[in-house]
Structures are given as structure tokens and as C-alpha cells.
């Protein structure tokens, strides 16, 4: 499969979005949103990460194999978190 290059316009747009998100996450942290603060911060980070993976890292135009690796990596971190936190969160029950 031939590689596909990403145009400069896309790159600039992505950078703008990333900088905007950085500002947004900083801005959000100035307010006390209760328990929502951390989820909001992390959600913004996930968006930024997705942009970088999809465009800067070309995942959007990559073979399925790349996707398998990405999904596997994230999934395995998920295993690590979910099963360990199962223990910590249910210790007090």
C-alpha cells in the first residue's frame, strides 16, 4: 500500500486545534467543577491524543495492522488499570 501524505492545511488545522485544546484544559482547571474536573481534563487530553495519532502519526491513512497495534496497546493498559483498580476500589466493601 502506497503511503499517503498529509497536506499542510491539515497539519496547520490540527496544530490550531491542539493549541486550542491546551488553552481549554488550562481554562477548565481554573474552575471548581466538583468531581468533573478530572474527567474533563482527561477527555480533552484524549481528544488531543486522538488528533496526533490520527493525523501527525498518519494512523488515519494507515493499514489495519497499525490499528491493531494501537488498539492492543490501549487495551492492554486498560487491562492493567481495570483489574488493579478492581482490587483497590472494592477493598473497603
Amino acid at each position: 500500500m502506497a503511503e499517503r501524505s498529509i497536506s499542510d492545511t491539515t497539519n496547520v488545522t490540527v496544530l490550531a486545534a491542539l493549541l486550542f485544546f491546551t488553552f481549554a484544559t488550562y481554562f477548565a482547571s481554573l474552575f471548581d467543577l466538583g468531581w468533573l474536573n478530572t474527567p474533563v481534563g482527561l477527555a480533552i487530553s484524549v481528544c488531543k491524543a486522538a488528533l496526533i495519532v490520527l493525523y501527525f502519526m498518519h494512523a488515519r491513512y494507515s493499514r489495519w495492522l497499525t490499528w491493531v497495534v494501537i488498539v492492543a496497546g490501549v487495551f492492554w493498559v486498560g487491562i492493567l488499570f481495570v483489574l488493579t483498580m478492581t482490587d483497590y476500589m472494592s477493598r473497603g466493601w
Partner: protein, 553 residues
């Protein structure tokens, strides 16, 4: 030239060009990027580590002859079992089949000229050696006494020994594991010969692939946790120290997230080898090829979900314990599938009992015992009794030694002609296999009983009523030792005096048998193409026999 070369099919007088005689000298070995030579480098280093680790086991068994700890001080004994564990787990079992047989045969079996990243492959070996040097330093400078598990806070606060050097050695070794695994994954994905689709791959390749996934995804967690232990030991920040807000159980979680899948790093390649052996020596396609493939991947995946069963009595929540228990049962299913399929492969086969087959049959029996006793440990209500006793020791030695080491020896004999161009002496081989099998069972079966009786592991002195079983175990260990010594001698002997091997002495299918023994540097004269399923003995053999008849006629 020696007399044997005359009987060889090759041109009389000159040995054909191969990877061994391609170039000579120390440089040509230490700077090689040829996967076959790197495999041999690994083989030599691993054998050295195996001998050291084995000697430590012998010393431990000698100590345990009597209930009083009279041969060594308890500190020496503690260092012996720690180093035995560290060396055997990280410097022998984890790299064993992947780094030696995998390195040699993955490219050959998929019809590639080399691994995807040959220089990285050499680097992996150097990293391995570098890590091993740390371990040597630890051995020479006074040892380490934490147990191979490095449980905190003992390892970070209490131990007075060389913990940091040891953890650093393992940390470094981790890079070797990761790079080896990465190399295999990429190679298997990208370097297969034309026509060699996934479901035409030999099962050995499948198992190396699954192993590599574990290596790549689990090892970094070990690296992270060893880093934390090292920092904690050096700076006492309180990461795992409960008096400073840390939690020692977090160490155990992270450690076992690596170390349980590591068990599958050790056994999966063994399963792959056994699949090759069983098919070849019964001349059958493996029963349920697809199921075995899926089971291989299934083990690699489920193996990641069960680490908590090492912590049932450690103080984790009962709900977490329940979750880990059911998941532990699930991982037994793909293992069971494999055992059933190997057995069924024999059905209506044409079974020949060459040395590798003896090892394979031994593997199936011992792995079955090891696997089934794993169910005892996964059962919550029973684990609260047998946890951390000799029952556990026996269980995992049935998997590691009865499984992995048997498979390693089986594979080594099976591919010895291909690797060296020489046959090993069959009679001695069979004898050694038998001695290993008997010695192994005598060593480790009594330990199941000891465990249920309640003898805890890592005991330097023990209650007198455990003595008889311990003496049996030590007697077995001495037999086992002889069993391991024999191949070391006769395989070396065969390098010079063994009968020369043709390209396919076992009439096996698979690309590695289509090239001369030993193979040329670039593996194949022409890139092979594949257009049939693996282990297609029912079509392959008639062709071979017909060709032979033509030759004779």
C-alpha cells in the same frame, strides 16, 4: 576430510558453503547479523546460565537432605534460591526457545532471508550478555536474598544484599526481551514467503508470535516496577513502604502483571515445538489446526488477566480475588484444547519414537500434570491452604521444567541436524530422555505431597516429618542432573563425530527442511513459495517415496 563425508550426498571432498563455514574467526561471530549465528551465540550463553542455575538447584537439594539447615547458613541458602530463580527465569527460560530455536528457525520456517532487523537482533544478544554480567557480578560479590519475586518492603528496606545490581541486570535484560519480541512480530507479519498465509504457518511460528506479543506488552511493566523498587531502595521515598503512604500490594500487582504472563512466555514456545514434533513423528497433520492457532492466541491474551491468583491470601479484596479466580480457570481451557489436540493427532498416525518424540510425549504428560494442578491453585478455597507451599513449587516446575525444558531439549534434538549438519547419537538420546523423565518425576512429585502437608517454600530448615519426601526429591534431582549432563556431552561429541545429516532426515514438512543442512547464509537459494497447508504429510510422503523409488530404479 573425515570418512563420514564420503557417505554424504554432497560433493566429495569439499563441504558445501553454509552459514558455519562462510567465514571464520571471532570477529565473524561477534559482529554477525546472521540470525543463525546469533541463535548459536544465544545457545552457548544460555547453556552457561542453565548450568549455573542448575548447580544452585543441586546445592539447594543437598541442603534439604536433612531437616536441620546444616550444609549452608540460612543466608547462603536464601541467596541460592534467589539466584536460582533469577537465573533460570530471566536468563534461561524466558529467552530459551525464542532466542535459540526461534531465532534460528523463524526466518527459515517462513522462507525469509533473515529477521526484519538483523542488527537489532545482535544488539539483543549483547544486551542479554550485559544483563548477565550484572548477575555474575551479584553472584561474585556476595549474592542477593530477596527471592526472585523481590517482594517489598523486604527488597526495599530489609534486605542487606545486592538488590539494586540484580534488579538493574533484569531491567537491562528486559530490553533484550522486548527487542527480540518486536523483531519476531515484525518479521512474522512482514517477511513471510509468497503464498505463506497465516493459516499455512507452522504452529511453532504461531506460538513464537503469541510469545512475542506477551514479551512486548508485559516486559515494560516489569521494567517500570523494577525501576520503582530500585529508586525506593536507594532513596526511601515510600513508594511501597506502608509507613510512608505506599502500598506493598501495588508492587505485587505490577510485578505479577508481568510475571504471570511470563509463565506463558516460557510455556507457549514449548507448545509450539511440541506441535512440530508430534506431527512429524506421527506423520499427521495436527488435529484441529485452527483450534490450536486460536488457543495459542487465547493463552497469550487470557494469560494477562489472571495475575491476581498469586495474591489470593495477600490482602486483596475478596471481589478482586473472585474475578481473578474465574479468569484463571478460563486460561486453562486453551491449554486443555492443546493437550487434547496433540493426543488426537496420534490417532491413526504412524508413530516413531525418536528422541525428540520421547521428549514431546514426556512434555504432554508432565504439562498435563502441571496444568491440572494449576486448577487447584486457582480454586480460592484451596489456595488458602496450598499457597506458598511446595505444592506451588511442584506445580510450576512441572510446567517450567517438565514442560519448557523438555520441549527445549526435544526441539534441540529435532533441529540439531539442521543447525549443525550432524546427527546426534540416537541411543544416547533416548537414554537421556528416559533418565530426565524419571529423574524429573522423582524430584518433583514428592513436592506435591510435601506442599499439601504444609511445607512452606523457601525453607532452609524444615520439620523432621518432611524428611523422607525431601530425600526422595534430592535423589530425583541427582538423576535429573545426570539426565541433563548426558546431552551436553553427546551433542558436543556429535559436532565432530556425528553422522552427517541430509537436508531432511526426519521426512518432515516445513520450509526449513527444504534447504541444505546446515543452511547457507542466505537460507534459501531461491525464495520459496508456499501453496499448501502445513503438516500435509498425507500428500508430502507419497511424493517423497515415489522420488526415492525413481532414484533407486
Amino acid at each position: 576430510m573425515s570418512a563420514e563425508s564420503v557417505t554424504n550426498a554432497g560433493p566429495v571432498g569439499a563441504e558445501p558453503r553454509n552459514y558455519l563455514n562462510e567465514s571464520y574467526g571471532v570477529r565473524s561471530w561477534l559482529l554477525t547479523t546472521d540470525h543463525k549465528r546469533i541463535a548459536l551465540l544465544y545457545m552457548v550463553s544460555l547453556t552457561l546460565m542453565f548450568v549455573i542455575g542448575g548447580l544452585m538447584a543441586v546445592l539447594m537439594r543437598l541442603e534439604l537432605l536433612t531437616p536441620q539447615g546444616d550444609l549452608f547458613t540460612s543466608d547462603t541458602y536464601n541467596k541460592l534460591f534467589t539466584l536460582h530463580g533469577v537465573i533460570m527465569v530471566w536468563f534461561f527460560l524466558i529467552p530459551s526457545i525464542p532466542a535459540v530455536l526461534g531465532n534460528f528457525f523463524v526466518p527459515l520456517m517462513i522462507g525469509a532471508k533473515d529477521l526484519a532487523f538483523p542488527r537489532l537482533n545482535l544488539l539483543s544478544w549483547y544486551i542479554y550478555v550485559f544483563g548477565a554480567l550484572f548477575t555474575f557480578y551479584v553472584v561474585v560479590s556476595g549474592g542477593v536474598d530477596t527471592g526472585w519475586t523481590f517482594y517489598t518492603p523486604f527488597s526495599t528496606d530489609a534486605s542487606q544484599t545486592h538488590v539494586v545490581s540484580t534488579t538493574l541486570g533484569i531491567f537491562i535484560l528486559g530490553f533484550s526481551s522486548i527487542l527480540t519480541g518486536l523483531n519476531f512480530i515484525v518479521t512474522i507479519h512482514r517477511m513471510r514467503a509468497p503464498g505463506l498465509t497465516w493459516f499455512r504457518l507452522p504452529l511453532f511460528i504461531w506460538s513464537i508470535y503469541a510469545t512475542s506479543i506477551i514479551l512486548v506488552l508485559a516486559t515494560p511493566v516489569l521494567a517500570a516496577v523494577l525501576m520503582l523498587v530500585t529508586i525506593e531502595r536507594l532513596f526511601h521515598i515510600g513508594i511501597f513502604d506502608p509507613t510512608m503512604g505506599g502500598d506493598p500490594l501495588l508492587y505485587q500487582h505490577l510485578f505479577w502483571f508481568y510475571s504471570h504472563p511470563a509463565v506463558y512466555i516460557m510455556i507457549l514456545p514449548g507448545m509450539g515445538v511440541v506441535s512440530e514434533l508430534v506431527t512429524c513423528y506421527s506423520r499427521k497433520r495436527i488435529f484441529g489446526y485452527n483450534f490450536v492457532c486460536y488457543a495459542t492466541l487465547g493463552i497469550a491474551f487470557l494469560g494477562f488477566l489472571v495475575w491476581g491468583h498469586h495474591m489470593f491470601v495477600a490482602g486483596i479484596s475478596v471481589y478482586a480475588a473472585m474475578t481473578f479466580s474465574i479468569l484463571s480457570y478460563l486460561v486453562a481451557i486453551p491449554s486443555a484444547i492443546k493437550v487434547f489436540n496433540w493426543t488426537a493427532t496420534l490417532y491413526k498416525g504412524s508413530i516413531s519414537f525418536k528422541t525428540p518424540m520421547l521428549y514431546a510425549l514426556g512434555f504432554i504428560g508432565l504439562f498435563t500434570v502441571g496444568g491440572l494442578t494449576g486448577l487447584f491453585l486457582a480454586a480460592l478455597g484451596l489456595d488458602i491452604h496450598v499457597h506458598d507451599t511446595y505444592f506451588v513449587i511442584a506445580h510450576f516446575h512441572y510446567i517450567m521444567v517438565g514442560g519448557m525444558v523438555m520441549a527445549y531439549f526435544g526441539g534441540l534434538h529435532f533441529w540439531w541436524p539442521k543447525m549443525t549438519g550432524r546427527m546426534y547419537p540416537e541411543g544416547w538420546g533416548k537414554l537421556a530422555a528416559l533418565v530426565v523423565f524419571i529423574g524429573f518425576n522423582l524430584t518433583f512429585f514428592p513436592q506435591f505431597i510435601l506442599g499439601y502437608l504444609g511445607m512452606p517454600r523457601r525453607y532452609h530448615a524444615y520439620a523432621p516429618e518432611f524428611q523422607v519426601l525431601n530425600v526422595m526429591s534430592t535423589a530425583g534431582a541427582s538423576i535429573l542432573g545426570v539426565g541433563y549432563l548426558l546431552p551436553l556431552i553427546y551433542l558436543l561429541w556429535s559436532l565432530r563425530y556425528g553422522k552427517r545429516a541430509g537436508p531432511n532426515p526426519w521426512l518432515a514438512t516445513g520450509l526449513e527442511w527444504t534447504t541444505p543442512s546446515p543452511p547457507p547464509k542466505e537460507n534459501f537459494e531461491v525464495t520459496p513459495a508456499v501453496n499448501e497447508e502445513p503438516y500435509n504429510y498425507s500428500e508430502f510422503l507419497p511424493k517423497v517415496f515415489a522420488a526415492e523409488e525413481v532414484e533407486v530404479g
